[in-house]
């Protein structure tokens, strides 16, 4: 075998090898085995195998290219997820060196046919006293021998999962040189399983043993599917200090409990410090599944880790969340928006007005919390579906699954279709078009009311247009965005519709894309086969719902915000009339509603919070970006003038064919994109709104461009490369004409 370390070591021998090669999990178990504890037989895929696999597929360079594309600290979670998804796809499609694959097969062949295996990470940094990776990396249970290679690759890939990347970044652990040994053991199902801590992890008290016991296999406990019975014992005497759980009768008889206590004590002695044990089976069946030093006693790593674990809600919690969102939250939100809508004009009566203001404020606070607690975690349904799809179908493009999610009934699409209709009415009626153009060009002389009179009386279809327009304005534009209510300013909307008159919005599905969607769905279900069909359909449903919600929640919430905004504006008017506010603030802070309410109730002076002034930075004209890098979110090349969107005021200025530069595109404003020839956005991700719309409109888009709205100016000539994710700014200036300039200095 020469001098290279072994690819595979049997678990019995693992303790003779360094933890860099096999990881602590494997070594700890090997030690237990050696001391006479029963441990399921197994073998370790060493770090050397990992290195051979990554070398064989040239993965490290590909990973680096993804990972250092931009500064990690300026990546958003979606961009980190994108990086992780691409890397996972490299692993999943990679092949093992032949020698390694043969060796794995020969080890697996040592077990009886039909043996189920557990495939778990045993990363070198894992389960040391300084950092706990419990739950951060993947593990797979009940794996058949023929699926081993596939699962080993996925465990390896979990070294680069988003939660692992974020966790290591936070802990300042080295990603560059991480390796991933994998532990494979035969499954040994027993009737009882559990956790045991030889010190109380919540208080750090070392004279206490904490036990969690469950009937069935341990994963039911680890994945929080079932509540365990919890017992606290005095370490030395075995006296029960507390016991609680679902069962009325204890799972363990007194002598079995005593036996467990003694085993925990001897394991602690073996490791020389308090330990956390995963076990299955009792008494003569007692089997050690994992032992590691307790990390939580000296610092709070477990708390931090648990936050990262929420990044990927498990299957069960996502299913529960789906139900809650679909049947409770979204209908509740719609109902709330509609009931506010139905309330009509502001009550003259101050007391009644304040009641309604408070109602809106409380509603705003409640839904804001729901947004963070439920809507954002639920958005992960898309990615969970994506991962499921990729594992099943193994597509060339890891974003192929998006096609399956597209839907025509997003609120934003419904709104855009109405806009399109109004645009068509204008393009079919040159008289109407002319009148609108005159109105928009001449802001001072015609009032909006006069304008509608003219439209209704002097044009053919004017009254129909006016009615539809006002309906759209009141029902779809009653949204709060960038400190204004979009319904307050009909000119912006009218201008957009006018510009749209000569174009078509392609947000409805083409027959071509419907066919593509159907084709992919068929392939997907075929790959799932009859056995997994139900589960495949369920994930697809969750994916679609999550996709629709991502868009709709923003629109619904901004309608809710709009109601609060209008009430706050009115409240400030009333306060001003009463002389209780010096001057109306130019920005209304929605979060400050309790202070406004209190001022009105107690008739005392309201002092608005100081708003941060936007600093206009002095530009260094001699140093400028020439080519910026982002994520290629919609393919194609285009050259055009930049229009940087910094506020709603910029909407009015948009000319068809410009390249729009956003900080973050939100569903509230996507109608403006119908005019764009391309999109640049600071906020990155393959699943953000701009990516989706750009792909549907088939215009090039690049997102994840750091500081896009600061580095690009309106009027700059931009060339977008939507295939490589590049934004080129300005004409190529290469000539050395600057000789002149240089002499001047």
């Amino acid at each position: 075998m020469g001098t290279r370390p072994p690819f595979i070591v049997s678990l019995a021998e693992a303790f003779d090898y360094p933890s860099e090669l096999l990881g602590n999990k494997a070594r700890n178990l090997s030690l237990c085995m050696r001391e006479g504890f029963h441990v399921p037989a197994g073998f370790c895929i060493s770090a050397e195998s990992y290195i051979a696999f990554t070398g064989h597929n040239n993965l490290q360079k590909r990973i680096n290219l993804e990972l250092y594309r931009k500064d990690f600290s300026s990546m958003r979670w979606e961009e980190i997820w994108d990086v992780a998804l691409r890397i996972r796809s490299f692993y999943s499609k990679g092949s093992l060196p032949e020698e390694l694959e043969k060796e794995i097969a020969s080890y697996a062949a040592l077990y009886p046919a039909g043996t189920k295996f557990a495939v778990r990470s045993s990363a070198a940094a894992e389960d040391s006293a300084s950092a706990s990776f419990a739950g951060i990396h993947e593990s797979y249970l009940n794996v058949n021998a023929e699926e081993l290679v596939e699962k080993i690759k996925l465990v390896w890939a979990s070294l680069w999962s988003d939660r692992s990347l974020l966790y290591r970044e936070e802990k300042k652990l080295d990603s560059q040189h991480s390796t991933m040994p994998v532990l494979i053991q035969a499954m040994e199902p027993k009737k009882l399983s559990g956790l045991a801590f030889s010190a109380d992890p919540s208080t750090g008290r070392q004279n206490i043993i904490v036990l969690e016991i469950i009937s069935g296999s341990l994963d039911l406990l680890v994945d929080n599917i079932e509540e365990p019975e919890r017992i606290k014992l005095e370490k030395d005497s075995g006296k029960i200090l507390s016991a609680d759980g679902q069962n009325t009768t204890a799972l363990l008889a007194t002598n079995a409990l005593e036996d467990l206590r003694l085993k925990v004590l001897s394991l602690e002695k073996l490791f020389g410090q308090p330990v956390d044990i995963e076990w299955t089976g009792i008494e003569e069946d007692f089997t050690v599944l994992q032992v590691r030093p307790i990390t939580g006693l000296t610092n709070d790593t477990d708390d931090e880790r648990s936050w990262y674990l929420t990044l990927t809600p498990g299957k069960e919690s996502l299913l529960a969340l789906t139900d809650k969102v679909e049947n409770e939250l979204i209908p509740g939100l719609i109902e709330e928006v509609e009931s506010f809508q139905a309330e009509g004009p502001f009550p003259e009566n101050n007391r009644l007005f304040l009641e309604q203001l408070e109602e809106r404020g409380i509603s705003y606070n409640r839904w804001k919390k729901t947004y963070w607690d439920d809507f954002i975690p639920f958005a992960h349904g898309i990615r969970t579906f994506g991962t499921y799809y990729n594992d099943l179908v193994k597509p060339e493009d890891p974003y192929e699954f998006i096609v399956l999610l597209k839907s025509d009934d997003l609120l934003a699409h419904q709104r855009n279709r109405q806009l399109e209709k109004l645009g068509q009415m204008i393009s079919n009626n040159s008289n109407l078009k002319e009148k609108i153009e005159i109105f928009l060009a001449d802001e001072n002389n015609i009032s909006t009311e006069q304008f509608w009179e003219i439209i209704k009386t002097e044009t053919n279809t004017g009254d129909k247009f006016a009615a539809n327009f006002v309906k759209l304005l009141n029902e779809e534009m009653n949204i709060y965005y960038d400190n204004v209510s979009l319904a307050d300013d009909p000119r912006t909307l009218l201008k957009t519709i006018l510009a749209l008159a000569d174009t078509t919005i392609e947000n409805t599905e083409h027959s071509e894309s419907i066919a593509k969607k159907q084709e992919l769905e068929n392939i997907y279900l075929e790959k799932a086969g009859p056995q997994k069909r139900d589960s495949a359909l369920n994930w697809l449903r969750i994916g679609r719902l999550s996709w629709k919600l991502r868009d709709d929640d923003n629109i619904l919430l901004s309608k809710l915000e709009n109601h609060l905004y209008l009430y706050l504006k009115e409240a400030l008017n009333r306060l001003q009339k009463a002389g209780l506010v010096k001057e109306t603030p130019d920005q209304i802070n929605l979060d400050d509603w309790p202070a406004v309410l209190e001022s009105m109730q107690k008739q005392k002076t309201y002092t608005p919070p100081v708003t941060k002034e936007k600093v206009h930075k002095e530009k260094n004209v001699s140093l400028k970006p020439r080519q910026l890098v982002g994520q290629p979110s919609s393919s194609g090349m285009v050259t055009g003038k930049a229009r940087v969107i910094r506020s709603v005021d910029d909407f009015k200025e948009v000319v068809k064919g410009e390249i729009l530069v956003f900080d973050a595109v939100q569903p509230q404003m996507t109608f403006i994109i119908s005019l764009a020839a391309g999109i640049v956005e600071r906020r990155g991700g393959m699943l953000v709104h701009s990516s989706i719309i750009a792909r549907e409109l088939q215009i090039p888009a690049v997102n994840g461009v750091s500081q896009a709205t600061e580095l690009i100016e309106t009027g700059d000539l931009l060339t977008l490369n939507g295939d490589l994710g590049l934004v080129v700014i300005g004409e190529p200036e290469f000539d050395l004409e600057l000789d002149k300039l240089h002499k001047k200095v």
Binding site: Q60, K61, N64, L65, L67, Y68, R69, K70, S74, M75, R76, W77, I80, L166, E170, Q176, W307, Y308, K368, Y371, W372, I376, N554, L557, S558, K612, K614, V615, K617, K619, N620, V621, S622, L623, K624, P625, R626, Q627, L628, V629, R646, D663, A664, Q666, R682, R683, S706, Q707, T709, E710, L711, L724, L726, E733, L736, L738, D739, L741, H742, V745
Partner: protein
């Protein structure tokens, strides 16, 4: 870590990232020019490009770059006939692991052979300070100092991110 979730609906994203990118870029260009001892010099003659590896130093304001060459060299000859030159400075030798970590500067500028004794003293001091082991070579009567007035920097990082900077434009 919630800042990774900058869903804009409730978070003020525009004020989140105010670090001055351009100042950072300028600092990186400066760092590379001051750290790297060697550059590739491109000259031309009769339509034929020609490159050399040189030891160089830059002025504090990054407006000039100086190197030394014996007068009988091809580059000396080419520069005396055509003053337009280009230089490349990069850190590729330190970043074998990832192409994204490589930083490179392309300089365009005009070169001239120094003849004024005070200028020669000033620039040779700077060059010797940077490359003390070359003192004998630089001070040799057969060597000449070449001063490049830098017109532009083209700075590339993260594989494809490009900035251009004409330091002479600063008033």
């Amino acid at each position: 870590m919630k800042d990774k979730y900058d869903e804009p609906i409730f978070v003020d994203v525009t004020n989140g990232n105010t670090k001055n990118a351009m100042a950072q870029v300028e600092a990186e260009i400066r760092e590379l020019c001051l750290e790297q001892p060697f550059a590739v010099l491109a000259t031309q003659g009769e339509g034929q490009p020609y490159t050399n590896l040189i030891s160089f130093a830059v002025s504090e304001n990054l407006g000039q770059l100086v190197f030394s060459t014996p007068a009988q060299t091809r580059k000396y000859d080419l520069i005396s006939k055509n003053k337009k030159v280009s230089l490349m400075i990069d850190n590729r030798d330190q970043q074998l692991e990832s192409i994204n970590l490589i930083r490179a500067i392309t300089i365009t500028g005009t070169a001239r052979i120094l003849e004024d004794s005070r200028e020669i003293e000033h620039w040779s001091d700077l060059l010797i300070k940077r490359h003390s082991y070359l003192e004998k070579f630089i001070k040799s009567p057969s060597s000449s100092l070449i001063l490049v007035d830098i017109i532009r920097f083209f700075y590339v990082r993260r594989f494809q991110e490009v900035y251009q900077w004409a330091p002479g434009r600063r008033s």
